[in-house]
Amino acid sequence: AQSVAQPEDQVNVAEGNPLTVKCTYSVSGNPYLFWYVQYPNRGLQFLLKYITGDNLVKGSYGFEAEFNKSQTSFHLKKPSALVSDSALYFCAAEMIKAAGNKLTFGGGTRVLVKP
């Protein structure tokens, strides 16, 4: 069975410092990988995805993520965090199947950016 792990429940970072949110996956084949963000009392917003090609993908709000096949990781990064980046972040993997695509989510990581 496929699984996605986010080893940190919470990440604290000072505003202006680099932000990294970790994600590892365990799936067979070549999964599609995603990052979503959830702000309080709101739904999930799509940030970025990796399908194929360049291992470094860029997404919304200055976020990027690096796909590392050998380490089965897809860490989310932002060079300079903002207080407004404080939210809950989810990593997800999708196996593309004829019967329909299914997203498997990690447990989520709460990011707190302090002024």
């Binding site: 979503y36 739904g43 695509n101």
Partner: protein, 114 residues
Amino acid sequence: SAVISQKPSRDICQRGTSLTIQCQVDSQVTMMFWYRQQPGQSLTLIATANQGSEATYESGFVIDKFPISRPNLTFSTLTVSNMSPEDSSIYLCSQTGASPDTQYFGPGTRLTVL
């Protein structure tokens, strides 16, 4: 991206009653999904809503408890039946948009069962 709306945005219900959640998307899509997010936890797929046929349920979810309708390509409903406090969660619908490999989510319905 896609525009997805859900009704109601939140509700407080009594044990033993049922609630129907509506999901409306702004374009005709093939795939619509329903997820549950229990308090402090991640998202779990309940079922795939298929247009014109029965929904496909994930392990641990059954049609009697979570009946789903999808009468057309832009609308779906999820009913939470015979509710108990354990059903208190955020329920989210999602769709695949112009990019079929990416799911976009609605704002969610926050359900509290007393």
